[in-house]
Amino acid sequence: MEKILIPLLDNELAPRFDLAADVLVVSLIRETSAMGRVEEMVTVLEDPSAEAMCRLAVKAGVQTVICAGIEKEFFDFLEWKGIRVLDDICGPVDVILEAYLGGRLATGQSYY
Protein backbone atom coordinates (compact mmCIF):
# COMPACT_ATOMS: atom_id res chain seq x y z
CA MET A 1 0.00 0.00 0.00
CA GLU A 2 1.21 3.45 -0.88
CA LYS A 3 0.18 6.57 1.01
CA ILE A 4 0.11 10.01 -0.57
CA LEU A 5 -0.38 13.31 1.23
CA ILE A 6 -1.88 16.32 -0.54
CA PRO A 7 -2.46 19.69 1.20
CA LEU A 8 -5.87 21.04 0.11
CA LEU A 9 -7.55 24.34 -0.59
CA ASP A 10 -11.16 23.32 -1.25
CA ASN A 11 -10.93 20.79 -4.07
CA GLU A 12 -7.60 22.06 -5.33
CA LEU A 13 -3.98 21.57 -4.35
CA ALA A 14 -3.18 24.26 -1.75
CA PRO A 15 -0.65 26.85 -2.98
CA ARG A 16 1.31 26.58 0.27
CA PHE A 17 2.33 23.45 2.17
CA ASP A 18 2.62 25.42 5.44
CA LEU A 19 -0.74 27.18 5.26
CA ALA A 20 -3.12 24.39 4.32
CA ALA A 21 -5.62 23.47 7.03
CA ASP A 22 -7.12 20.52 5.16
CA VAL A 23 -5.03 17.53 4.20
CA LEU A 24 -5.93 14.63 1.99
CA VAL A 25 -4.26 11.33 2.72
CA VAL A 26 -4.78 8.82 -0.06
CA SER A 27 -4.15 5.11 0.51
CA LEU A 28 -3.48 3.38 -2.75
CA ILE A 29 -3.52 -0.36 -3.17
CA ARG A 30 -2.38 -1.32 -6.66
CA GLU A 31 -3.65 -4.68 -7.81
CA THR A 32 -2.27 -4.35 -11.31
CA SER A 33 -0.45 -1.41 -12.88
CA ALA A 34 -3.77 0.01 -14.11
CA MET A 35 -6.22 -1.28 -11.51
CA GLY A 36 -6.37 -0.81 -7.82
CA ARG A 37 -8.26 0.59 -4.88
CA VAL A 38 -8.05 4.12 -3.58
CA GLU A 39 -9.13 5.18 -0.13
CA GLU A 40 -9.24 8.84 0.78
CA MET A 41 -9.24 10.49 4.17
CA VAL A 42 -9.33 14.23 4.84
CA THR A 43 -7.79 15.53 8.05
CA VAL A 44 -8.31 19.07 9.31
CA LEU A 45 -5.32 20.56 11.08
CA GLU A 46 -6.10 22.68 14.11
CA ASP A 47 -3.19 25.00 13.47
CA PRO A 48 -1.83 24.87 9.90
CA SER A 49 1.95 24.78 9.86
CA ALA A 50 4.68 23.07 7.91
CA GLU A 51 5.81 21.30 11.06
CA ALA A 52 2.33 19.94 11.75
CA MET A 53 2.11 18.79 8.14
CA CYS A 54 5.51 17.04 8.36
CA ARG A 55 4.50 15.40 11.64
CA LEU A 56 1.31 14.14 10.01
CA ALA A 57 3.20 12.81 6.99
CA VAL A 58 5.67 10.91 9.17
CA LYS A 59 3.00 9.66 11.59
CA ALA A 60 0.68 8.49 8.81
CA GLY A 61 3.53 6.61 7.09
CA VAL A 62 3.21 8.64 3.91
CA GLN A 63 5.57 7.76 1.03
CA THR A 64 4.83 10.66 -1.32
CA VAL A 65 3.85 14.28 -0.73
CA ILE A 66 2.32 16.22 -3.63
CA CYS A 67 2.29 19.96 -3.03
CA ALA A 68 2.86 23.41 -4.53
CA GLY A 69 5.07 25.82 -2.54
CA ILE A 70 7.21 24.23 0.17
CA GLU A 71 10.19 25.72 1.97
CA LYS A 72 13.53 24.01 1.35
CA GLU A 73 13.93 23.23 5.05
CA PHE A 74 10.77 21.11 5.06
CA PHE A 75 11.43 19.63 1.63
CA ASP A 76 14.83 18.46 2.88
CA PHE A 77 13.33 17.18 6.11
CA LEU A 78 10.75 15.04 4.30
CA GLU A 79 13.32 13.70 1.84
CA TRP A 80 15.61 12.93 4.79
CA LYS A 81 12.74 10.95 6.31
CA GLY A 82 12.53 8.97 3.07
CA ILE A 83 9.38 10.70 1.83
CA ARG A 84 9.39 11.68 -1.84
CA VAL A 85 8.20 15.24 -2.46
CA LEU A 86 6.69 16.29 -5.78
CA ASP A 87 6.37 20.08 -5.47
CA ASP A 88 5.65 23.12 -7.62
CA ILE A 89 2.40 21.58 -8.90
CA CYS A 90 -1.01 23.20 -9.11
CA GLY A 91 -4.46 22.12 -10.21
CA PRO A 92 -7.66 20.34 -9.09
CA VAL A 93 -6.91 17.42 -6.79
CA ASP A 94 -8.80 14.82 -8.86
CA VAL A 95 -6.88 15.71 -12.01
CA ILE A 96 -3.58 15.64 -10.14
CA LEU A 97 -4.35 12.31 -8.52
CA GLU A 98 -5.35 10.85 -11.86
CA ALA A 99 -2.08 12.08 -13.40
CA TYR A 100 -0.14 10.56 -10.49
CA LEU A 101 -1.89 7.20 -10.80
CA GLY A 102 -1.20 7.21 -14.52
CA GLY A 103 2.47 8.00 -13.91
CA ARG A 104 2.15 11.35 -15.70
CA LEU A 105 2.61 13.76 -12.79
CA ALA A 106 5.58 16.10 -13.16
CA THR A 107 6.91 18.90 -11.00
CA GLY A 108 6.59 22.48 -12.25
CA GLN A 109 3.27 21.67 -14.00
CA SER A 110 -0.14 23.31 -13.91
CA TYR A 111 -3.04 20.86 -14.26
CA TYR A 112 -5.77 23.46 -14.78
Partner: protein
Protein backbone atom coordinates in the same frame (compact mmCIF):
# COMPACT_ATOMS: atom_id res chain seq x y z
CA UNK B 1 4.95 72.37 -19.60
CA UNK B 2 5.01 70.27 -22.79
CA UNK B 3 1.75 68.65 -23.86
CA UNK B 4 1.44 64.97 -23.09
CA UNK B 5 1.66 62.78 -26.15
CA UNK B 6 -1.50 60.81 -25.39
CA UNK B 7 -1.20 58.68 -28.49
CA UNK B 8 2.32 57.58 -27.46
CA UNK B 9 1.04 56.67 -24.02
CA UNK B 10 -1.87 54.69 -25.48
CA UNK B 11 0.55 52.91 -27.83
CA UNK B 12 2.88 52.07 -24.95
CA UNK B 13 0.14 50.77 -22.74
CA UNK B 14 -1.86 48.91 -25.34
CA UNK B 15 0.87 46.82 -26.96
CA UNK B 16 1.99 43.84 -24.94
CA UNK B 17 5.58 44.07 -26.08
CA UNK B 18 5.91 47.78 -25.32
CA UNK B 19 4.14 47.39 -22.00
CA UNK B 20 6.42 44.49 -21.04
CA UNK B 21 9.48 46.58 -21.88
CA UNK B 22 8.11 49.41 -19.79
CA UNK B 23 7.34 47.16 -16.80
CA UNK B 24 10.73 45.43 -17.07
CA UNK B 25 12.46 48.69 -16.27
CA UNK B 26 10.72 48.91 -12.88
CA UNK B 27 12.79 47.67 -9.92
CA UNK B 28 9.67 46.31 -8.17
CA UNK B 29 8.06 43.02 -9.12
CA UNK B 30 4.79 43.79 -10.94
CA UNK B 31 1.97 41.53 -12.12
CA UNK B 32 -1.13 42.55 -14.05
CA UNK B 33 -4.13 40.39 -13.26
CA UNK B 34 -7.61 40.25 -14.74
CA UNK B 35 -10.64 40.95 -12.55
CA UNK B 36 -10.78 37.27 -11.55
CA UNK B 37 -7.20 37.26 -10.37
CA UNK B 38 -5.63 35.39 -13.31
CA UNK B 39 -2.22 36.56 -14.44
CA UNK B 40 -2.14 38.59 -17.68
CA UNK B 41 1.43 39.86 -17.57
CA UNK B 42 4.42 39.82 -15.21
CA UNK B 43 7.61 41.86 -15.42
CA UNK B 44 11.17 40.61 -15.23
CA UNK B 45 11.55 41.42 -11.54
CA UNK B 46 8.42 39.38 -10.76
CA UNK B 47 9.78 36.41 -12.70
CA UNK B 48 13.12 36.73 -10.88
CA UNK B 49 11.55 37.04 -7.45
CA UNK B 50 9.14 34.13 -7.79
CA UNK B 51 11.42 32.02 -10.00
CA UNK B 52 8.45 31.56 -12.33
CA UNK B 53 8.97 31.78 -16.09
CA UNK B 54 6.76 34.43 -17.68
CA UNK B 55 5.13 31.93 -20.04
CA UNK B 56 4.26 29.58 -17.16
CA UNK B 57 2.69 32.47 -15.22
CA UNK B 58 0.15 33.32 -17.92
CA UNK B 59 -3.44 32.51 -16.97
CA UNK B 60 -2.39 31.03 -13.64
CA UNK B 61 -4.46 32.20 -10.71
CA UNK B 62 -2.48 34.74 -8.75
CA UNK B 63 -2.33 32.59 -5.62
CA UNK B 64 -0.65 29.77 -7.55
CA UNK B 65 1.80 32.13 -9.23
CA UNK B 66 2.75 34.00 -6.08
CA UNK B 67 2.14 31.45 -3.27
CA UNK B 68 1.77 34.23 -0.75
CA UNK B 69 0.54 33.93 2.84
CA UNK B 70 -1.70 36.95 2.24
CA UNK B 71 -3.79 34.81 -0.17
CA UNK B 72 -5.27 32.99 2.81
CA UNK B 73 -5.31 35.91 5.24
CA UNK B 74 -7.57 38.52 3.69
CA UNK B 75 -6.39 39.31 0.17
CA UNK B 76 -9.23 41.28 -1.50
CA UNK B 77 -8.83 39.06 -4.56
CA UNK B 78 -9.85 36.06 -2.48
CA UNK B 79 -12.41 37.80 -0.26
CA UNK B 80 -15.10 39.09 -2.59
CA UNK B 81 -17.80 40.14 -0.12
CA UNK B 82 -17.03 43.87 -0.28
CA UNK B 83 -15.90 46.39 -2.92
CA UNK B 84 -12.24 45.93 -3.71
CA UNK B 85 -9.92 48.67 -2.50
CA UNK B 86 -6.16 49.11 -2.67
CA UNK B 87 -4.30 47.43 0.17
CA UNK B 88 -0.68 47.17 1.19
CA UNK B 89 0.83 44.69 3.63
CA UNK B 90 3.96 42.81 4.66
CA UNK B 91 3.75 39.23 3.48
CA UNK B 92 5.87 36.27 2.46
CA UNK B 93 5.99 34.13 -0.64
CA UNK B 94 7.63 30.80 -1.49
CA UNK B 95 9.73 30.94 -4.61
CA UNK B 96 10.38 28.15 -7.09
CA UNK B 97 13.78 27.72 -5.38
CA UNK B 98 11.80 26.80 -2.21
CA UNK B 99 12.88 29.96 -0.45
CA UNK B 100 10.58 31.95 1.80
CA UNK B 101 10.93 35.59 0.75
CA UNK B 102 9.56 38.44 2.83
CA UNK B 103 7.96 41.17 0.75
CA UNK B 104 5.94 44.37 0.87
CA UNK B 105 2.86 43.56 -1.19
CA UNK B 106 0.43 46.07 -2.72
CA UNK B 107 -2.76 44.99 -4.46
CA UNK B 108 -4.53 47.80 -6.39
CA UNK B 109 -7.71 47.44 -8.45
CA UNK B 110 -7.96 49.29 -11.77
CA UNK B 111 -11.57 50.45 -12.04
CA UNK B 112 -13.57 51.87 -14.94
CA UNK B 113 -15.90 54.87 -14.83
CA UNK B 114 -18.73 52.69 -13.48
CA UNK B 115 -16.47 51.66 -10.60
CA UNK B 116 -16.16 48.11 -11.90
CA UNK B 117 -12.85 46.34 -11.36
CA UNK B 118 -11.31 45.78 -14.82
CA UNK B 119 -7.91 44.55 -13.72
CA UNK B 120 -5.62 44.37 -10.70
CA UNK B 121 -2.02 45.52 -10.32
CA UNK B 122 0.09 43.60 -7.86
CA UNK B 123 3.42 45.07 -6.74
CA UNK B 124 6.05 43.38 -4.58
CA UNK B 125 9.21 44.77 -3.04
CA UNK B 126 11.48 42.35 -1.17
CA UNK B 127 12.14 43.13 2.47
CA UNK B 128 15.77 42.48 3.19
CA UNK B 129 15.54 40.79 6.55
CA UNK B 130 13.13 38.81 8.66
CA UNK B 131 14.20 40.08 12.03
CA UNK B 132 11.70 38.32 14.27
CA UNK B 133 12.88 34.85 13.40
CA UNK B 134 16.57 35.62 13.58
CA UNK B 135 18.19 34.85 16.91
CA UNK B 136 21.71 33.83 16.19
CA UNK B 137 22.57 34.69 12.64
CA UNK B 138 25.35 37.01 11.67
CA UNK B 139 23.48 40.26 12.39
CA UNK B 140 24.95 42.42 15.08
CA UNK B 141 21.73 43.87 16.30
CA UNK B 142 18.46 44.69 14.70
CA UNK B 143 19.76 45.85 11.37
CA UNK B 144 22.34 48.22 12.76
CA UNK B 145 26.06 48.35 13.18
CA UNK B 146 27.30 49.45 16.56
CA UNK B 147 30.63 51.00 17.36
CA UNK B 148 32.37 54.20 18.47
CA UNK B 149 36.05 53.37 18.01
CA UNK B 150 37.92 55.59 15.50
CA UNK B 151 38.45 52.73 12.99
CA UNK B 152 34.76 51.87 12.92
CA UNK B 153 33.61 55.50 12.93
CA UNK B 154 35.77 56.12 9.89
CA UNK B 155 34.03 53.29 8.04
CA UNK B 156 30.59 54.50 9.15
CA UNK B 157 31.34 58.03 7.93
CA UNK B 158 32.38 56.67 4.51
CA UNK B 159 29.32 54.43 4.11
CA UNK B 160 26.83 57.05 2.77
CA UNK B 161 29.16 58.23 0.02
CA UNK B 162 30.10 54.65 -0.89
CA UNK B 163 26.39 53.82 -1.05
CA UNK B 164 25.79 56.56 -3.60
CA UNK B 165 28.31 55.13 -6.06
CA UNK B 166 27.60 51.99 -8.03
CA UNK B 167 31.16 50.68 -7.83
CA UNK B 168 32.02 47.19 -6.60
CA UNK B 169 32.95 46.96 -2.92
CA UNK B 170 35.37 44.51 -1.34
CA UNK B 171 35.03 44.10 2.43
CA UNK B 172 37.79 42.31 4.28
CA UNK B 173 38.10 41.33 7.91
CA UNK B 174 38.28 38.36 10.23
CA UNK B 175 35.30 36.09 10.69
CA UNK B 176 32.53 37.60 12.78
CA UNK B 177 33.56 41.24 12.30
CA UNK B 178 30.31 42.22 10.57
CA UNK B 179 31.15 42.15 6.86
CA UNK B 180 27.64 41.02 5.92
CA UNK B 181 26.05 43.73 8.06
CA UNK B 182 28.20 46.42 6.51
CA UNK B 183 27.31 45.29 2.97
CA UNK B 184 23.63 45.32 3.86
CA UNK B 185 23.94 48.80 5.37
CA UNK B 186 25.59 50.06 2.16
CA UNK B 187 22.73 48.55 0.15
CA UNK B 188 20.10 50.09 2.44
CA UNK B 189 21.63 53.54 2.15
CA UNK B 190 21.93 53.35 -1.62
CA UNK B 191 19.39 54.22 -4.29
CA UNK B 192 19.03 50.50 -4.79
CA UNK B 193 17.30 50.01 -1.43
CA UNK B 194 13.97 49.38 -3.16
CA UNK B 195 15.60 46.45 -4.94
CA UNK B 196 16.65 43.12 -3.45
CA UNK B 197 19.77 42.44 -1.38
CA UNK B 198 20.77 38.93 -2.35
CA UNK B 199 23.51 36.99 -0.60
CA UNK B 200 25.49 34.05 -1.87
CA UNK B 201 28.06 32.22 0.21
CA UNK B 202 30.72 30.58 -1.95
CA UNK B 203 32.01 28.59 1.02
CA UNK B 204 28.65 27.06 1.88
CA UNK B 205 27.76 25.61 -1.52
CA UNK B 206 29.29 22.66 -3.34
CA UNK B 207 31.44 23.72 -6.29
CA UNK B 208 29.22 22.03 -8.89
CA UNK B 209 26.16 23.96 -7.69
CA UNK B 210 27.77 27.37 -7.56
CA UNK B 211 27.51 28.16 -11.25
CA UNK B 212 23.77 27.55 -11.39
CA UNK B 213 23.37 29.35 -8.05
CA UNK B 214 25.00 32.45 -9.55
CA UNK B 215 23.83 32.35 -13.14
CA UNK B 216 20.79 30.06 -13.04
CA UNK B 217 20.07 27.21 -15.39
CA UNK B 218 17.50 26.19 -17.94
CA UNK B 219 15.31 23.11 -17.59
CA UNK B 220 17.20 19.82 -18.06
CA UNK B 221 20.59 21.59 -18.26
CA UNK B 222 21.78 19.63 -15.23
CA UNK B 223 20.81 16.31 -13.66
CA UNK B 224 17.73 16.96 -11.53
CA UNK B 225 17.10 20.41 -13.07
CA UNK B 226 13.38 19.84 -13.51
CA UNK B 227 12.63 23.50 -14.06
CA UNK B 228 14.32 26.76 -14.97
CA UNK B 229 16.17 28.51 -12.17
CA UNK B 230 16.80 32.24 -12.39
CA UNK B 231 20.05 32.32 -10.35
CA UNK B 232 21.09 34.92 -7.79
CA UNK B 233 22.34 37.47 -10.31
CA UNK B 234 18.92 37.69 -11.92
CA UNK B 235 17.19 37.65 -8.54
CA UNK B 236 19.29 40.65 -7.53
CA UNK B 237 18.21 42.69 -10.58
CA UNK B 238 17.75 46.32 -9.52
CA UNK B 239 19.54 45.65 -6.22
CA UNK B 240 22.82 44.31 -4.91
CA UNK B 241 24.47 40.90 -4.91
CA UNK B 242 26.70 40.23 -1.91
CA UNK B 243 29.21 37.42 -2.40
CA UNK B 244 30.63 36.17 0.89
CA UNK B 245 33.79 34.06 1.07
CA UNK B 246 34.72 35.12 -2.47
CA UNK B 247 38.12 33.50 -1.89
CA UNK B 248 36.32 30.14 -2.13
CA UNK B 249 34.94 30.90 -5.61
CA UNK B 250 36.38 28.30 -8.05
CA UNK B 251 38.82 29.68 -10.62
CA UNK B 252 36.54 28.89 -13.58
CA UNK B 253 33.68 30.82 -12.01
CA UNK B 254 35.99 33.73 -11.22
CA UNK B 255 36.37 34.11 -14.99
CA UNK B 256 32.61 33.98 -15.52
CA UNK B 257 32.00 36.53 -12.74
CA UNK B 258 34.61 38.83 -14.23
CA UNK B 259 32.91 38.58 -17.59
CA UNK B 260 29.56 39.43 -15.94
CA UNK B 261 31.09 42.46 -14.24
CA UNK B 262 32.29 43.69 -17.62
CA UNK B 263 29.07 43.38 -19.61
CA UNK B 264 26.33 42.70 -17.01
CA UNK B 265 25.01 39.84 -19.13
CA UNK B 266 23.88 36.66 -17.37
CA UNK B 267 24.26 33.40 -19.29
CA UNK B 268 22.33 30.63 -17.48
CA UNK B 269 23.79 27.12 -17.61
CA UNK B 270 22.49 25.36 -20.71
CA UNK B 271 21.22 28.53 -22.39
CA UNK B 272 22.66 30.31 -25.39
CA UNK B 273 20.71 33.44 -24.60
CA UNK B 274 22.23 36.19 -22.47
CA UNK B 275 20.11 38.36 -20.19
CA UNK B 276 21.04 41.85 -19.14
CA UNK B 277 20.73 42.64 -15.42
CA UNK B 278 21.49 45.67 -13.34
CA UNK B 279 23.22 44.50 -10.17
CA UNK B 280 25.79 46.07 -7.86
CA UNK B 281 28.40 43.56 -6.78
CA UNK B 282 29.78 43.56 -3.25
CA UNK B 283 32.10 40.85 -1.97
CA UNK B 284 33.72 39.86 1.30
CA UNK B 285 36.50 37.62 2.42
CA UNK B 286 38.47 36.77 5.52
CA UNK B 287 41.40 35.59 3.39
CA UNK B 288 44.27 37.62 2.01
CA UNK B 289 43.36 37.80 -1.67
CA UNK B 290 46.75 39.28 -2.64
CA UNK B 291 48.46 36.14 -1.31
CA UNK B 292 45.90 34.00 -3.12
CA UNK B 293 46.74 35.87 -6.35
CA UNK B 294 50.43 35.12 -5.84
CA UNK B 295 49.54 31.46 -5.26
CA UNK B 296 47.51 31.52 -8.52
CA UNK B 297 44.33 30.66 -6.58
CA UNK B 298 42.57 33.95 -7.29
CA UNK B 299 42.46 35.90 -10.54
CA UNK B 300 44.41 39.13 -10.35
CA UNK B 301 42.08 40.93 -12.78
CA UNK B 302 39.04 39.96 -10.68
CA UNK B 303 40.77 41.31 -7.59
CA UNK B 304 41.41 44.62 -9.39
CA UNK B 305 37.81 44.69 -10.58
CA UNK B 306 36.44 44.11 -7.06
CA UNK B 307 38.97 46.29 -5.33
CA UNK B 308 37.47 49.60 -6.49
CA UNK B 309 36.29 50.37 -2.96
CA UNK B 310 37.94 48.42 -0.18
CA UNK B 311 36.88 48.42 3.44
CA UNK B 312 38.63 46.54 6.19
CA UNK B 313 36.70 45.80 9.37
CA UNK B 314 39.02 45.64 12.39
CA UNK B 315 38.89 42.67 14.79
CA UNK B 316 37.02 43.30 18.04
CA UNK B 317 40.19 43.08 20.15
CA UNK B 318 41.44 46.23 18.39
CA UNK B 319 38.24 48.19 18.94
CA UNK B 320 38.86 49.28 22.55
CA UNK B 321 35.71 50.55 24.27
CA UNK B 322 33.49 49.10 21.58
CA UNK B 323 33.52 45.84 23.55
CA UNK B 324 31.73 47.56 26.44
CA UNK B 325 29.36 49.32 24.05
CA UNK B 326 28.51 46.13 22.20
CA UNK B 327 28.05 44.04 25.33
CA UNK B 328 25.52 46.59 26.63
CA UNK B 329 23.84 46.69 23.23
CA UNK B 330 23.46 42.90 23.11
CA UNK B 331 22.34 42.80 26.76
CA UNK B 332 19.48 45.15 25.94
CA UNK B 333 18.66 43.23 22.78
CA UNK B 334 18.49 39.77 24.37
CA UNK B 335 16.83 41.07 27.55
CA UNK B 336 13.98 42.36 25.39
CA UNK B 337 13.92 39.29 23.18
CA UNK B 338 13.87 36.69 25.97
CA UNK B 339 11.87 38.81 28.42
CA UNK B 340 14.48 38.40 31.21
CA UNK B 341 14.91 40.99 33.98
CA UNK B 342 18.72 41.11 33.58
CA UNK B 343 20.09 44.59 34.29
CA UNK B 344 23.87 44.60 34.30
CA UNK B 345 27.17 42.70 34.57
CA UNK B 346 29.08 42.11 37.81
CA UNK B 347 32.54 43.75 38.06
CA UNK B 348 34.32 40.41 37.60
CA UNK B 349 32.16 39.49 34.61
CA UNK B 350 32.90 42.88 33.04
CA UNK B 351 36.64 42.41 33.60
CA UNK B 352 36.55 39.00 31.99
CA UNK B 353 34.50 40.28 29.06
CA UNK B 354 36.88 43.21 28.66
CA UNK B 355 40.03 41.06 28.68
CA UNK B 356 38.89 38.13 26.55
CA UNK B 357 40.52 37.88 23.09
CA UNK B 358 37.31 37.20 21.06
CA UNK B 359 38.74 35.10 18.22
CA UNK B 360 35.18 34.95 16.87
CA UNK B 361 34.88 38.74 17.10
CA UNK B 362 31.49 40.48 17.43
CA UNK B 363 29.60 37.30 16.56
CA UNK B 364 31.28 35.54 19.49
CA UNK B 365 30.56 38.40 21.88
CA UNK B 366 26.94 38.32 20.76
CA UNK B 367 26.72 34.57 21.39
CA UNK B 368 28.35 34.95 24.82
CA UNK B 369 25.80 37.58 25.86
CA UNK B 370 22.95 35.48 24.46
CA UNK B 371 24.20 32.55 26.56
CA UNK B 372 24.59 34.72 29.68
CA UNK B 373 21.13 36.28 29.40
CA UNK B 374 19.62 32.82 28.96
CA UNK B 375 21.39 31.38 31.98
CA UNK B 376 21.25 34.37 34.33
CA UNK B 377 18.92 33.64 37.23
CA UNK B 378 18.92 37.14 38.70
CA UNK B 379 19.38 40.74 37.70
CA UNK B 380 23.18 40.63 37.46
CA UNK B 381 25.22 38.57 35.02
CA UNK B 382 28.02 37.00 37.07
CA UNK B 383 31.06 34.91 36.19
CA UNK B 384 29.11 31.68 36.55
CA UNK B 385 26.67 32.82 33.86
CA UNK B 386 29.43 33.21 31.26
CA UNK B 387 30.51 30.22 29.13
CA UNK B 388 33.12 28.10 30.93
CA UNK B 389 35.56 28.13 28.00
CA UNK B 390 36.24 31.85 28.54
CA UNK B 391 38.18 30.97 31.69
CA UNK B 392 40.35 28.46 29.85
CA UNK B 393 41.84 31.03 27.54
CA UNK B 394 45.00 33.04 27.93
CA UNK B 395 45.00 36.61 29.13
CA UNK B 396 42.73 36.09 32.11
CA UNK B 397 43.11 39.21 34.30
CA UNK B 398 45.20 38.67 37.43
CA UNK B 399 43.33 38.29 40.69
CA UNK B 400 40.13 37.36 38.97
CA UNK B 401 38.30 34.94 41.22
CA UNK B 402 37.05 31.80 39.60
CA UNK B 403 33.29 31.48 39.95
CA UNK B 404 33.00 28.02 41.48
CA UNK B 405 35.56 25.32 42.20
CA UNK B 406 35.06 22.87 39.38
CA UNK B 407 35.23 19.10 39.79
CA UNK B 408 38.57 17.68 38.64
CA UNK B 409 38.64 17.17 34.89
CA UNK B 410 39.24 13.57 33.85
CA UNK B 411 42.61 13.24 32.20
CA UNK B 412 43.27 10.87 29.31
CA UNK B 413 46.15 8.44 29.11
CA UNK B 414 48.26 10.84 27.10
CA UNK B 415 47.68 13.59 29.63
CA UNK B 416 45.20 15.48 27.50
CA UNK B 417 41.82 16.59 28.80
CA UNK B 418 39.21 13.93 28.18
CA UNK B 419 36.37 16.46 28.31
CA UNK B 420 36.69 19.44 26.00
CA UNK B 421 35.78 22.89 27.31
CA UNK B 422 32.13 23.78 27.03
CA UNK B 423 31.30 25.18 23.61
CA UNK B 424 28.37 27.44 22.80
CA UNK B 425 27.12 24.81 20.34
CA UNK B 426 27.05 22.19 23.10
CA UNK B 427 25.25 24.59 25.38
CA UNK B 428 22.65 25.29 22.73
CA UNK B 429 22.13 21.58 22.21
CA UNK B 430 21.65 21.15 25.95
CA UNK B 431 19.23 24.09 26.07
CA UNK B 432 17.13 22.56 23.28
CA UNK B 433 17.07 19.13 24.92
CA UNK B 434 16.16 20.63 28.32
CA UNK B 435 13.35 22.65 26.77
CA UNK B 436 12.03 19.58 24.92
CA UNK B 437 12.13 17.50 28.11
CA UNK B 438 10.34 20.24 30.06
CA UNK B 439 7.59 20.54 27.46
CA UNK B 440 7.18 16.82 26.89
CA UNK B 441 8.56 17.02 23.37
CA UNK B 442 6.22 19.80 22.24
CA UNK B 443 8.32 21.87 19.87
CA UNK B 444 6.04 24.89 19.79
CA UNK B 445 6.14 25.20 23.58
CA UNK B 446 9.87 24.47 23.63
CA UNK B 447 10.47 27.26 21.12
CA UNK B 448 8.42 29.62 23.30
CA UNK B 449 10.41 28.61 26.37
CA UNK B 450 13.66 29.29 24.55
CA UNK B 451 12.36 32.58 23.19
CA UNK B 452 12.87 31.41 19.62
CA UNK B 453 10.62 31.19 16.59
CA UNK B 454 9.39 27.72 15.70
CA UNK B 455 11.39 27.58 12.51
CA UNK B 456 14.53 28.65 14.37
CA UNK B 457 14.11 25.75 16.79
CA UNK B 458 13.43 23.43 13.86
CA UNK B 459 16.54 24.66 12.06
CA UNK B 460 18.73 24.28 15.13
CA UNK B 461 17.34 20.82 15.90
CA UNK B 462 18.19 19.83 12.36
CA UNK B 463 21.64 21.35 12.71
CA UNK B 464 22.33 19.43 15.91
CA UNK B 465 20.72 16.23 14.60
CA UNK B 466 18.04 16.17 17.31
CA UNK B 467 14.98 14.30 16.11
Amino acid sequence: MPAIDTQLLIDLLSHEEALTLLLDELPAAVALLDADGSVILVNRAYASLTGLERESAMELKCLHALRCDFCVSGCPLMVRDKPMEMCSTNANIISRSREKIFVRLTVSPLKDKEDRVRAVVETLTPLSHHILDETSGSAFGLGELVGRSPQVRKIFSMTPSIAQTDSPVLITGETGTGKDMLAEEIHKESDRNDGPFIKVNCGALPEHLLESEFFGHVKNALPGADHDKPGRLRMAHGGSLFITEIGDLPYSLQTKLLSYMDDHMVHPVGSHKGMRTDVRIMAATQHDLETMVRQKRFRQDLLYRLNVIRLNLPPLRQRGDDIRLLQDHFLKMFRARFGRPVERFSTNAERLLGSYAYPGNVRELRNIIEYAVNFCDGKVIRMRHLPGYMLDGHGLPEGLTAPQPEPPTPVGEDGTRAIPPERWEDVQRKMILDALVKTGGKKQQAAKLLGWGRSTLWRKMKHFGIE
